[in-house]
Amino acid sequence: MDFLRPTGWEEALALKAEHPTAVPIAGGTDVMVEINFDHRRPQQLLDLTRIGELRTWETGEESVRLGAAVPYARIIGQLRTELPGLALAARTVGSPQIRNRGTVGGNLGAASPAGDAHPALLAAGAVVEAGSVRGTRMIPVDSFYTGVKRNALAPDELIRAVHIQRADGPQQFSKVGTRNAMVIAVCAFGLALHPRTRTVRTGIGSAAPTPVRAVAAEEFLAAALEEGRCWDTGRPVPPSAARQFAELASGACSPIDDVRGSAAYRRRAVGVMARRTLDWAWHEYRTDGDGVQQCA
């Protein structure tokens, strides 16, 4: 095994081009487990922790460009306003120690359906900035996940950053695990209200081969909110609409039975989380956001 330590982005890309099977490592929270337990013996480890820019972020008008190696703890502490859904998700990742090391870039690279960041990214709307010696590719997160633990990266590509839409409305994240801390998701749900576009976006984790959006649920809810003039009036979401939204979210799952939970439970739990997160987010919209003024 070789340990490659690029100190700059271009060098990292060159090394990845030279060694396409090299496994990138930043926080190590996935890769090292696989090495410690002999599940993986890559020929090269490509250490990204010496590339300073990957640990930084820039906040633009529309989006936050989040460096691939920004640890979750920084997102919780410093990006709560811009990326509330992701910050909520980040707080559920592993343990405090893991949150000090683990990164969104790593979550994307591993592309596990159980990765906690995915539902939040799907709900907020995000684009993955992938680089290689051939150039830069912008991959919408919706099409980034291609299968169980597979993603759209080419062998010579590395994730440089994720461009995440800045929150223009309330966001929520909820995750079911069978322990009250330090637990892998049995399933998870992310919700973002986008009052500017009067749309709703969702993300579901651990309930399908890949993280997915509940598109039918999103479209239904957007229509229902529009129809009820809820955006303008801040009127409560009609209970029947909330129920239907939950059912559609549940229907977007194609879960399996595994050691962490049954498929039937996952479907049910996603529905419950969809209804509750909608309730919380809409309550916030009505009380903090434009809705209140419109209401009054």
């Binding site: 707080r91 079911v176 322990r179 801390a181 439970y265 739990a269």
Partner: protein
């Protein structure tokens, strides 16, 4: 109640919360656990394990592994020098698989190499050809006609009376006339219950260092629960007499029963003797799940009959424990489950059958609570249901049927020391309840940490319902059924640096429980010295028995006490010889050792210990036994099988998110009778720790075994979950001290009882919150949501 320790006054003596002698080393990171050991020229051992639960080994080819640079030895069954099987009670466990593997993860070959990665890579090059065999995984498949037999040529002591070769041991307990009692019952409640396979999940994985010695023997530094039992099993396997196999206890990172059986002990010694080099083996967490036995999963069927006024008339039950592929301590677990199956209640008519199976599941054996845990979960669920049928308060119903001193067990044994079952329930019920809706904050946003789901943000109070549940349990203390259960202690008193110093040497395995603290307290109390040295535990002193069955403070503590008394007598003899002629009190008064002096019971100082001893030292080593027990009758289960019983009661308060099936235990109060708290701080720690393990079993802990393949599906801390600090509530503890006059200082074994009633109390609270008949632990969200 008589206080058997009245009049005892020694600073740092018994009854005080003195601090651990190993505390400073443990907080500074210097305490050497087995996995921390290092030796010049040391090799790393690695174990190749079976990927199948049942298979014939057609061939093993180690050629390539042996050729790997850095590899010093590869061993398979064919390389074993002497006996090839071992076992705690029955020698049925192969040191390395001998043509057949009987469970997933069974050791097949060993590698010794200069780096763990070298050893792993070499092990991966060992070619093992398997032919898979059908698996048996439960009573039905194990006893079906034509079922594969795990051990077809059994010749163990239990084989003769076992109804089937795949039944390790069966123990009925029969008393009174259940059929007649059934006729009289106003209420009959029948229930089926199931308990999953719990893991001890001690944090320090199995590890040890074997060092070959110049005399052809071997020194093993090992984390274990019983040095002498390890030696008794290892010596025949490596073909050496016991005196050539020396064992020293290294730091032990928890045990809870999981270190009673051998894991890597024989393997490390074999590799060390084969290579002539020190060999260290350290399991990782994955391997640890295969490296030790687990708590027996159980299926239990109970029937309780009672009169309308709330008197239990009879209990009939059948307890089927899954012992897995090898016997381990299954026979003793069966004995406990059978004899304690009814719980701490007076029931005149009893018909109990308990048995353990051989299956292709992972071997099961000792874990804290040892057979009593499974029974307690079921009989306490039944007690709640009978109470509900009768329209009685569940605590009142229990109190009405609670045993007390003088009660007769279903085994016919009279409970001859305090059994304050009703009082424990009263106390736990009387504790103030925790406030409701603790997640609500002044700012309006809920504190997620106080809600089911915790940081995962699953509820802000929606669907959350509170429930309260009670349970009480009974556990035997010490080894039972006629086992010669003794401990050895060597105590020395001498003057060091102008001060009398006591040295205590036992082979007691300190696994975290605080036995070393207590030994020092006993020596201070009995010998009146301030300074006590606790020598490392090793096999240079006689056996101290196992650190299990809540027995160490009782039995090894008793041995230390007795050895101290013998030393004291000899010291007083020395004093009489030296100073007796000058003071009549030496002959006439009762003499004590206090504050480094010989004093009369009237308080008069006769001499300084320093002057009595001068350059001499006094040392005594002796064995101490508790009262003998006897085996249970094989047909009726009658017999004085246990030496002491211990009791604990719990009240659990839970909040359940009923829509998501997630549980938050809000409080877990415990009341326990400990006879005499030799160290109240340690006793509290035992009760809180034991309660938490019971909580884990109630809501999350299970080794999941695939019923089709008998393979373990979650051998990791990612998927085998134990409670975190956010899952563990406040655990208020009420300690009762009613002396058992048969035991040293009146003490009662502490460690296990709190693990029993914790689980059923939590589950009872969940049932109350949800209205569901929860029949299985651990309770999963699926069970609470019908998914």
């Amino acid at each position: 109640m008589r206080d058997l320790t009245q009049g005892i006054r020694a600073r740092g003596g018994i009854g005080e919360s003195t601090l651990r002698p190993d505390g400073t080393l443990k907080v500074s990171g210097e305490f050497a656990y087995a996995s921390d050991l290092w030796h010049e020229d040391m090799l790393w051992g690695f174990t190749l394990r079976s990927p199948h639960a049942h298979a014939r080994i057609l061939s093993v080819d180690v050629t390539e592994a042996l050729r790997t640079a850095g590899v010093h030895a590869v061993m398979t069954h064919d390389d074993l020098p002497a006996e090839t099987r071992y076992g705690l009670e029955i020698k049925d466990t192969p040191v390395l698989a001998d043509g057949v593997v009987r469970h997933h993860g069974e050791p097949v070959a060993l590698v010794a190499a200069d780096h763990p990665e070298t050893a792993r890579r070499a092990a991966a090059k060992i070619k093992v050809e398997y032919a898979q065999l059908p698996v048996v995984t439960d009573e039905k498949t194990a006893t079906a006609p034509g079922a594969p037999l795990l051990h077809p040529a059994r010749d163990d002591a239990h084989a003769r009376h076992s109804p089937h070769p795949n039944i390790v041991h069966r123990q009925p307990v029969v008393r009174g006339d259940v059929a007649a009692a059934r006729e009289l019952a106003d209420v009959v409640v029948r229930g089926e219950y199931e308990m999953g396979m719990q893991d001890q999940a001690f944090l320090g994985p199995e590890s040890g260092l074997a060092v070959p010695a110049e005399d052809g023997g071997v020194d093993l530094y090992i984390s274990t629960q019983w040095l002498h039992a390890d030696r008794r099993q290892v010596a025949p396997v490596i073909g050496l007499p016991e005196d050539k196999v020396r064992m020293t206890l290294s730091g032990v990172g928890g045990a809870f029963g999981g270190r009673e059986d051998l894991s890597m002990q024989a393997h490390a010694c074999l590799l060390a003797l084969r290579t002539g080099k020190p060999v260290k083996i350290v399991y990782n967490r994955f391997e640890s799940f295969f490296g030790h036995v687990h708590r027996h999963p159980a299926k239990l069927v109970y029937e309780h009959g009672a009169t309308r006024d709330g008197t239990l008339l009879y209990v009939r039950c059948r307890i089927v424990l899954d012992g897995g592929a090898y016997a381990s301590s299954s026979p003793a677990v069966v004995g406990n489950a059978a004899s304690l199956a009814v719980g701490p209640y007076v029931v005149d008519n009893v018909d109990v059958e308990a048995l353990a199976l051989y299956t292709n599941n992972p071997p099961c054996g000792a874990m804290r609570g040892f057979g009593a845990v499974q029974a307690c979960f079921a009989y306490e669920a039944q007690m709640d249901r009978v109470a509900a049928e009768l329209g009685m308060d569940p605590v009142e119903f229990r109190q009405r049927n609670a045993m007390a001193q003088g009660a007769v067990m279903p085994t016919g044994q009279v409970v001859d020391s305090p059994a304050p079952v009703a009082e424990l329930l009263r106390r736990v019920k009387a504790m103030p309840l925790p406030p409701e809706r603790q997640w609500e904050t002044a700012g309006g946003a809920p504190d997620l940490r106080a809600l089911p789901g915790g940081l995962s943000n699953t509820t802000h109070g929606e669907g959350v319902v509170r429930g309260i549940g009670y349970a009480v349990g009974i556990k035997n203390v010490g080894f039972s059924e006629g086992f010669d259960d003794y401990s050895t202690a060597r105590v020395r008193l001498e003057v060091v640096g102008g001060e009398p110093v006591a040295t205590v040497h036992t082979a007691m395995a300190e696994v975290g429980q605080g036995g070393v603290t207590v030994h020092a307290q006993i020596a201070r109390t009995e010998l009146g010295v301030a300074r006590v040295t606790i020598n490392p535990a090793d096999t240079r002193v006689g056996s101290a028995g196992s650190t299990s069955a809540s027995r160490q403070t009782y039995v090894t503590g008793g041995a230390v006490k007795r050895a101290c008394e013998a030393v004291r007598e000899e010291v007083l003899e020395l004093g009489r010889a030296r100073f007796g002629p000058y003071h009549p009190a030496w002959a006439t008064a009762e003499l004590l050792l206090e504050d480094g002096k010989v004093v009369t019971d009237g308080g008069e100082v006769l001499a300084d210990l320093v002057d009595v001893l001068e350059d001499a030292y006094v040392e005594r080593e002796l064995e101490w036994r508790h009262r003998p027990t006897e085996p249970f009758d094989l047909r009726t289960g009658q017999g004085r099988g246990h030496v002491q019983y211990s009791f604990a009661a719990h009240r659990a308060v839970v909040e359940v998110d009923t829509e998501l099936g997630l549980v938050k235990v809000v409080e877990l109060a415990c009341a326990q009778d400990v006879g005499k708290a030799l160290n109240p701080l340690s006793v509290t720690g035992q009760i809180q720790g034991g309660s938490t393990q019971g909580l884990g079993l109630a809501v999350m802990e299970e080794i999941v075994v695939d019923p089709a393949t008998a393979k373990v599906r979650n051998p990791s801390f990612t998927d085998y979950l134990i409670p975190t600090i956010l899952d563990t509530p406040a655990i208020p503890v009420d300690i009762l001290e009613l002396a058992d006059e048969h035991a040293p200082y009146g003490l009662r074994g502490v460690g296990e009882a709190p693990t029993l009633s914790s689980t059923p109390a939590v589950v009872a609270a969940i049932r109350q919150a949800t209205g569901l008949a929860v029949r299985r632990v651990p309770v999963r969200p699926e069970h609470l949501t019908g998914t």
